[in-house]
Amino acid sequence: MLGFILRRLGVMALTMLCLTLVVFFLVNLEPNLKKLAISQLDMRSSAAELESWLQKNGYRQNFFVRYGQWLGVVQKQPNVDPETGVSSPRFSYCDEPAEPYYGGILQGDFGCSTKFKVPVAEKLFPALGATGILMFWVMVVMVPVALLIGVLAGMREGTRTDRTLSVASIATTATPEYVSGVIFAVIFASWLGWLNGSAATATRQGISFYNFTLPVMTMAIYGIGYIARMTRASMVEVMTQQYIRTARLKGLGFRAVVIKHALRNALIAPFTVIMLQFPWLLTGVVIVEVMFRYQGFGFTLVEAASNNDIDLLLGCSLVSVFVVLSTQLISDVGYAYLNPRIRVQ
């Protein structure tokens, strides 16, 4: 088991290395660098000014040198004035030292956000915290509801309850966040006026039922259908097993059979599904946070991408890829743990 986890961690590190290289390549394409330079100077700057800004801040160094700098295996160079020879830090707002130093991911330095004018870590981790709160509430709502629907539907296959709940869960999987978000906002914010159509106040004044329900509901609804369908399928399969029939034949009530014998076995498959939902939830986070103006990870990612904030965008991709890969690992390990028939080599 330990060997398996170690090997997976190795593959994970390799994947992250490859992916950050790809992201690094894409954000450093010529048009993107131009966009960055323009956003840092202003729209009317001439081509020569843009070029000299890029030159001065080290964006014209060799691609692999710069990737190495970001990783922390090559020294980051300060700006050196070609005439006086005086060196000054690259970005004054990030407290970078004025001499060459190793400052990359390996040293725990995520770099400097050119859009927000702060070190990336200062922007990224509070945003992650905000998204963590959102995710927590989404999970609190989504998982119990989805499991309940799935178990109720799969308990007695083919009944009217089953068909109604199945169609309902298909309907929620056909409702992406930007669709359900609009529908809920129309119903609960515009017509009924019960809830706030924006979660912008949640960042400053703390979350409340009034401003946080809509984002949570919107995100949960898309995942509920999928998890419920998986639970239903697994429940249906379990209910046809011999041990369920035995339990019924020895005179146990239906309720006791479902709760004591079926439920535990039926919940193994949904566990994996819930874990693999994280990559989807990440996309959902971006949509919901933009839609309800909640300053979390997704909001930061969109800001970073639309301003080509290189270090921040790399930080965001690193975090999201890490989340996706580690949930995959947890789901594999957890599956083997929950289901003793699965053995990892």
């Binding site: 593959v11 994947t15 490859c18 992916l19 992201v23 894409l26 954000v27 394409l29 010529e30 048009p31 993107n32 131009k34 966009k35 199945s166 169609v167 298909i170 309907a171 999987t173 056909a174 409702t175 992406p176 930007y178 669709v179 978000g181 609009v182 529908i183 906002a185 129309v186 914010a189 515009s190 017509w191 159509g197 990559p279 990440l282 996309t283 971006v286 949509i287 933009v290 839609m291 997704g298 990612l301 969109v302 991408a305 639309s306 080509n308 965001c316 991709s317 999201s320 890829v321 996706v324 890969l325």
Partner: protein, 385 residues
């Protein structure tokens, strides 16, 4: 100036009447499908359950709406009528006397017409991108599952690499105006669009190698049609000038194929690993058939059931992805009538006007729902056998 409006029944009847070509086409399809149900195989079996009928009919409804968009929509989707700005549903445009059935939007365009024309964009890109993803995923998934070993590890690593990217980040990196200035979308298109040609050439070659005359015709046709489409789509150099694609559409297309091909790859790989242990594959191997013959003519036809279900679900998922692109204003032109862009435009003004948001929202939802119901019915049928 005050605009005359229709009542609520006027709107409902107006909408139903505008869709008249769609209703006629649906009635014809329904009649013939029920009449010849026994002879239509898997498609006919769909009409045995309510879920199946609903799924088929919703999908056909949007298909015919896209085909007859010119007749169904009363206005041009881009035309602006200043007097109709933000008009409520049912407002009558004074010059033509036609009603804005679902009202007007922020830029005084007819919401109903935009929804109808939006279906064209969605129904062209989503199924086409899914088919290309299917080709790419299948062509790579077959050898990965069949041979296993190093090819499998390498291809699986690549697929997992793409799958580890959150889709939205991928789109923000791959679908930008900046990237269209570089040749990257062209390269990717060049790689992806070669797969269908390779697929069909291998398909015919493995089966009809011993019948050179038939093979020659098939290969010539494949290369001619494939090469023609390839020139038109990748290099925008169609000698006849019929096939062409704008650079932002190519960009979207390529990004969507790139995002969904690894999913197909994983499914095909899994299916092949399961099927290759069957007796008929062993029999073909004993006969001395080539590996590619076995993959394409023994394994693939037996994997079709789950693949068809997956394609249905995937078209729905691709529609959602297109909506996401539109919602973030990536790739599609800002005035494009597609549903995602419509949702983006209207959701910003939700406090003031609700009506422009609802038609694209329900259109997208119903189309994806139709596809999901269809997939569910197909899955149920294939489980029965």
């Amino acid at each position: 100036m005050q605009v005359e409006t229709l009542g609520i029944f006027g709107i409902i009847f107006g909408v139903l009447a505008r869709f008249w070509p769609v209703w006629i086409a649906l009635a014809i399809i329904l009649f013939f499908s029920l009449r010849f149900r026994e002879r239509l195989g898997l498609y006919g079996q769909l009409f045995e359950t309510g879920v199946g009928v609903a799924g088929v009919m919703i999908c056909f409804f949007w298909l015919f709406t896209a085909i007859f968009a010119g007749t169904v929509a009363p206005f041009d989707p881009l035309a602006q009528f200043p007097i109709m700005k933000n008009v409520l549903p049912g407002g009558i445009e004074p010059e033509s006397g036609q009603a804005f059935l679902f009202g007007g939007d922020r830029l005084a365009r007819d919401v109903f017409s935009r929804m109808v024309y939006g279906s064209q964009i969605v129904l062209i890109i989503a199924p086409a991108a899914t088919l290309f993803a299917l080709m790419v995923g299948t062509t790579l998934g077959l050898p990965a599952g069949y041979y296993g070993g190093r090819i499998d590890s390498f291809l699986s690593f690549l697929a997992n690499l793409v799958l580890a990217f959150p889709v939205i980040l991928l789109f923000y990196l791959l679908v930008t105006p900046g990237i269209r200035e570089t040749p990257i979308p062209q390269w990717m298109a060049g790689v992806f669009f070669i797969f269908p040609i390779v697929f069909f050439v291998t398909l015919f070659w493995t089966r009809y190698r011993s019948r050179p005359q038939l093979l020659a015709i098939q290969l010539a046709l494949t290369l001619l049609i494939g090469g023609w489409a390839y020139l038109g789509l990748v290099f925008d150099a169609d000698p006849l000038g019929i096939i062409s694609i704008s650079s932002n559409q190519l960009n979207i297309f390529v990004a969507v194929v790139f995002a969904s091909a690894p999913g197909v790859f994983r499914i095909v790989r899994g299916l092949v690993m399961d099927i290759k242990t069957r007796d008929y594959v062993a029999a073909a191997q004993t006969r001395g058939e080539t590996p590619w013959y076995i993959m394409l003519w023994e394994v693939l036809p037996n994997a079709r059931g789950p693949l068809i279900v997956d394609v249905c679900l995937r078209i729905g998922y691709t529609t959602i992805l297109l909506g996401t692109l539109g919602y973030f204003g990536l790739g599609l032109a800002p005035e494009s009538p597609d549903w995602g862009t419509g949702i983006k435009e209207s959701s910003r003004l939700l406090r003031a006007y609700v009506h422009p948001a609802l038609p694209p929202v329900f259109a997208l939802m119903s189309f994806v729902l139709g596809l999901n119901l269809l997939a569910d019915a197909l899955r149920e049928q294939s489980l029965k056998d």
